[in-house]
Amino acid sequence: MSVVEVNQANFKAEVLESPIPVLADFNADWCGPCKAMRPMLEELAESGPSYKIVSIDIDAESDLAEEYDVTSIPCLVLFKDGQEANRSIGLISKDAIAQLAEG
């Protein structure tokens, strides 16, 4: 599976109602660290994990960013059963991302 692009329209179905945990990557195209993290997320998504990875553009989806109180990116939020279970702010390693998602 690849990283799924999520917006206000499909957020509920893709994230909140997902039967498996979802790692949401809040990012923007002007954010260098976000771009550096993207290939790591792609690799993890392709490796067939037990969770789903989605990407949310905070400029296009400012309401979602505000709703989840994202004021610093890159910001990874782990959702389990529609609830925030954990989050991490700033550029982290691929191993650390996997750990966050599996935790």
Binding site: G32, V70, G90, S93, D95
Partner: protein, 318 residues
Amino acid sequence: MHDIVVIGAGPAGMTAAIYARRAARSVLVLEAVSCGGQILNTPDIENYPVEAHISGFDFSRKLHDQAEGLGAEFIFEKAVEIRDLGAVKEVVTPKNTYQARAVILATGSENRKLGLEDEDRLVGRGISYCATCDGNFYRNKVVAVVGGGNTALEDALYLADLAQKVYLIHRRDSFRGEETTAARLREKPNVEIICNANVTRLIAEKRLKAIEITDKLDGSLRTVELNGLFIAVGRIPENQDFAGLVQLDEAGYVLAGEDCHTAASGIFTAGDNRTKLLRQLVTATADGAMAATEAVKYLRETEQAYTDSLLRSWGGVC
């Protein structure tokens, strides 16, 4: 066994990899997080020769591709220890131990913190170390910048165009940063400069709500309500793990001159973690070239010494 292990894949480390590969040496670059390092936070680099504009991300990607194209190997593990066994060095990560004949420390630096209670918890909840990354979230809000160097002044100027109000808090009465930037700040009607003052407390619930400022001259306290606090009080070199091996100065930088030699034979250093006058992209890449060239010279000399000793033990030279 690699000829050279480079620790850190920032501009200095990746340039060192290029020079070492062009000298036909095997190179492993160990990186804890991601290629690029600190420069990834720069949206537009305007002072690197030849490219008038390039983003830090594109710069890093190109540099990585160049080094990898020349045959440098990259592994994403954090080096936590170097064992100096003389002619062989062991670089230890949580997963593996790598052997090398020479090591280049290009670990860079990280943001210096204020050291206040709750500071870590509030990162991303009102506290930021990167105005250009996070400034957009504070459009029409009230923010403060702490610091007095160029980064602090430039952050305050950048935020002044976005935020409703910007406080600039500095512990001294004059700025270390460029006077032209300071002068531009003084002209901004929405910037209030507070000198001779320290931020002494973070006031927060879930998010940062206010800060307490202590006047250094009379000890008086002032509470400033705000939405965001941008901390720009310098950087600290990431050399702690290697302090026993190479010599550091009081601030933690690896003591090394222009030749990038450390106190330990066969261990070199390059970039922001070295003692130097100017920490810029162009001086980091210059260091990378120098450290790799010196490392290659060291390898040649040790190889020559080994050959000479073999010849001597055989009892003659042809």
